[in-house]
């Protein structure tokens, strides 16, 4: 449960997108993109969010930034509820929390020199132009680009890795406490990706940052994260310290996800796919546990009752949403556990 000390506390965050159809544009279906998601981000940590397409990881990021409005749920920054009367305004939140997107080109204005793009946020928030530009020069240097060479270039004159450095610099221009990185290195080549990841580690230490790092790349998330949150079809299925989640996954989906990673050893190639088929459509998620249609352990109870995300008994830092781990849930494996 969210503790008061958390830098960011998210409770019951929910977003269902309406699909309009038919002659009168009536709502024909709801996409349950994020469904009742609660988690915290602690000061100074990197929280990794992993999951496959359609699991709601990017929607979660956009909800945190209030780029889309949640249907339900609350976000509190340092105990102050965002958007509440006596809480923090969204504008104030944006000074504390910034975001870097996957597409480094689309997220920059093609008609602005990159130094202006970086200075734009501080300008809007009331800093004098000379000061804002001076800060942009400092940040260019901080992300490893020589201001004398790069300040007046336009986005199309830079490589993908350089553009992503600009986006990181721009995100830091308002001196935020939290940076949300949504697939920020996914479009980069491996050798460039390593450069940007090293840069992110340097900046985190230098500016005392907290990261929310969203990616589909399990290796990168393991590398950068202190804690990892695994999502499936709009729900959190497992959350905990990265070494524990990767070393000893407790949710059947986490286990399948990790064993689906390609082998790096030619002598031990994968023999069998851990899951068959594609993830189901989030428009009509399965009843009960959303993973049950692909789960090797699914039983009757999984069909009827959605499992709650509960702390694992011997391991309070980890929470798992699976009936197998709840004694008395009605799952045969759980009963065996409860009796033992």
């Amino acid at each position: 449960m969210p503790r008061p000390s958390a830098l960011l506390a998210v409770e019951h965050l929910t977003k269902h997108f309406a699909l309009k159809g038919g002659l009168f544009g009536r709502t024909s279906a709801l996409v349950q993109a994020v469904d009742d998601v609660s988690f915290t981000v602690e000061r100074g940590e990197t929280l990794g969010i992993v999951g496959e397409s359609g699991c709601g990881k990017s929607t979660t990021a956009r909800l945190l930034m209030h780029l889309i409005k949640p249907d339900r749920g609350s976000i509190a920054f340092e105990g102050q509820t965002v958007g509440a009367a006596e809480g923090l305004s969204h504008r104030q939140l944006h000074r504390q929390m910034q975001m870097v997107f996957q597409d480094s080109y689309a997220s920059l204005n093609p008609r602005l020199p990159v130094a202006m793009s970086i200075a734009f946020g501080p300008l809007v928030h009331g800093l004098a132009k000379a000061h804002a530009l001076a800060r942009a020069m400092e940040l260019l240097a901080a992300v490893g680009l020589d201001p004398a060479l790069f300040a007046n270039r336009y986005p199309h004159e830079l490589s993908g890795g350089q553009r992503q450095r600009i986006n990181v610099a721009r995100a830091l221009a308002l001196e935020p406490r939290i940076v949300i990185l949504d697939e920020a290195v996914s479009a980069l080549d491996k050798s460039v990706e390593a450069q940007v990841l090293n840069l992110l580690a340097d900046l985190k230490a230098r500016f005392d940052l907290t990261y929310v790092f969203i990616s589909h790349d399990l290796n990168v998330v393991r590398y950068i994260s202190d804690r990892v949150m695994v999502m499936y079809l709009g729900k959190i299925v497992e959350i905990g310290p990265a070494d524990r989640v990767y070393g000893d996954p407790q949710h059947p989906y986490t286990r399948a996800l990790l064993s689906a990673m390609p082998s790096m050893d030619p002598r031990r190639r994968t023999r069998q796919a851990p899951l068959s088929g594609d993830p189901p459509n989030p428009i009509r998620p399965p009843s009960g546990c959303r993973f049950r249609t692909r789960c090797p352990l699914a039983e009757k109870v999984c069909e009827t009752t959605p499992p709650a995300l509960l702390a694992l008994a011997p391991d309070g830092a980890r929470r798992v949403a699976c009936h197998v781990h709840v004694p008395g849930s009605g799952h045969t494996r759980a009963a065996a556990r409860g009796a033992a």
């Binding site: 496959e52 397409s53 490589s159 890795g161 080549d189 491996k190 050798s191 460039v192 990706e193 390593a194 450069q195 990841l197 090293n198 580690a201 589909h216 790349d217 399990l218 290796n219 990168v220 998330v221 393991r222 590398y223 990265a242 070494d243 990767y246 070393g247 000893d248 996954p249 286990r255 399948a256 996800l257 990790l258 064993s259 689906a260 990673m261 390609p262 082998s263 790096m264 050893d265 030619p266 002598r267 031990r268 190639r269 994968t270 069998q272 796919a273 851990p274 899951l275 068959s276 088929g277 594609d278 993830p279 459509n281």
Partner: protein
């Protein structure tokens, strides 16, 4: 690689000799492929590993002559399944494409026609190439969908591409590519856009089909893990050249080129947690103005003066292994063995 040292019982199904591809742009000429040679035997899987702009996709497209003719200058010799691709006219090419050599792509939505059902597209291809009746072709289409393990195949024949999920579309595209039993399958990052649990299914399917049908496969990828899962041999590409070729185990265990070694150590693996990543300094060279000498030399920490004089020729390291590094070939440097299997996160 000219395999004079490896005695060849039969003619290779793909043979490329000194391939050069240049694109003429308005303001410059881009040297995309700069001397690629290799042979591929029937039933073998060659993985081409490289970063964006290294020329791996251009190599595949050159094999089917899919590059825009007005802007492309091709030199060298390409033989595929006994056909001289480089000198063929368009009509003859159309007989070869799809029938002898087929290709699958990263994005099936672009490769498949959105206005026809999967069944029609497969049947049409079979009728076009083999001249059988639509009735016979439809029967084959059903068998093909079953072969690529699409559930309720009979119903799926009547589905349009947009009605299928990403993994199913990829399977449908594989079925379409295999419809005329090609002897060579070219795969251009076919699993890159897929989720990891679906990616492994498609990899296993391709591996199984390749073995059952005895096809030769050229599999292009930027992902070391994917290359390890599919390839018998790996060719590492940099700036339009194969810089190293060898059996997968050998290349992964003991890289024979500084670029391969650097690529393997800079690939982020989970258990590097908390450590600083080793990176390759700088950027890939500008293909409009390649440096004299070895194109990796400006980023290579082993480079010496003579590396910058001329492009190192292909040297034989051991039977079946080629490197384009002068210093590795001369036995002057030992490249670190990255030991990837230890550094991979635990696979439960």
């Amino acid at each position: 690689m000219t395999q004079a040292h490896a005695p060849m019982a039969k003619e290779p199904v793909v043979s490329v000799e000194n391939l050069h591809v240049r694109f003429l742009m308005r303001e410059a000429t881009v040297a995309a492929i700069n001397g690629v040679s290799f042979d591929l035997e029937a039933g073998q899987v060659l993985g081409i590993l490289g970063e964006s702009g290294s020329g791996k996709s251009v190599t595949l497209r050159a094999l089917m002559r899919l590059l825009p003719p007005a802007r492309t200058r091709m030199e060298g010799r390409i033989r595929v399944a006994g056909h001289e691709i480089t000198t063929m006219d368009e009509a003859a090419l159309r007989q070869v494409r799809g029938a002898k050599v087929a290709m699958i792509f990263q994005e099936p939505m672009i490769a498949l026609d959105p206005v026809f059902t999967i069944g029609v597209q497969i049947a049409e291809t079979i009728v076009r190439h083999e001249g059988v009746s639509y009735r016979a072709a439809n029967k084959r289409a059903l068998e093909l969908l079953e072969m690529v393990q699409i559930p309720s195949a009979a119903r799926r024949l009547k589905a349009y591409p947009h009605e299928m999920s990403g993994g199913m579309r990829q399977r449908a595209m594989i079925a379409l590519a295999l419809s005329c039993r090609p002897s060579v399958l070219l795969a251009d990052e076919p699993t890159t856009a897929l989720d990891v649990t679906v990616q492994i299914q498609i990899i296993l399917l391709l591996r199984q089909l390749q073995q059952e049908l005895g096809m030769a496969v050229i599999f292009v990828t930027h992902d070391v893990g994917v290359a390890v899962e599919v390839a018998d041999r790996i060719a590492v590409m940099y700036a339009g050249r194969f810089v190293e070729v060898g059996p997968t185990e050998k290349v992964i265990d003991a890289p024979g080129h500084p670029y391969t070694a650097a690529l393997l150590t800079s690939t982020v693996l989970g258990s590097a947690f908390g450590r600083r990543l080793e990176v390759i300094p700088g950027m890939p060279p500008d293909l409009r103005a390649l440096p004299e000498g070895c194109s990796f030399a400006p980023r290579c920490r082993h480079a010496e003066e003579h590396c910058r004089v001329r492009m190192p020729p292909e040297s034989t390291l051991s039977p079946e292994r080629m490197t384009r590094c002068l210093r590795v070939a001369a036995g002057e440097i030992d490249l670190p063995s990255p030991n990837l299997s230890d550094r991979n996160v635990t696979r439960p």
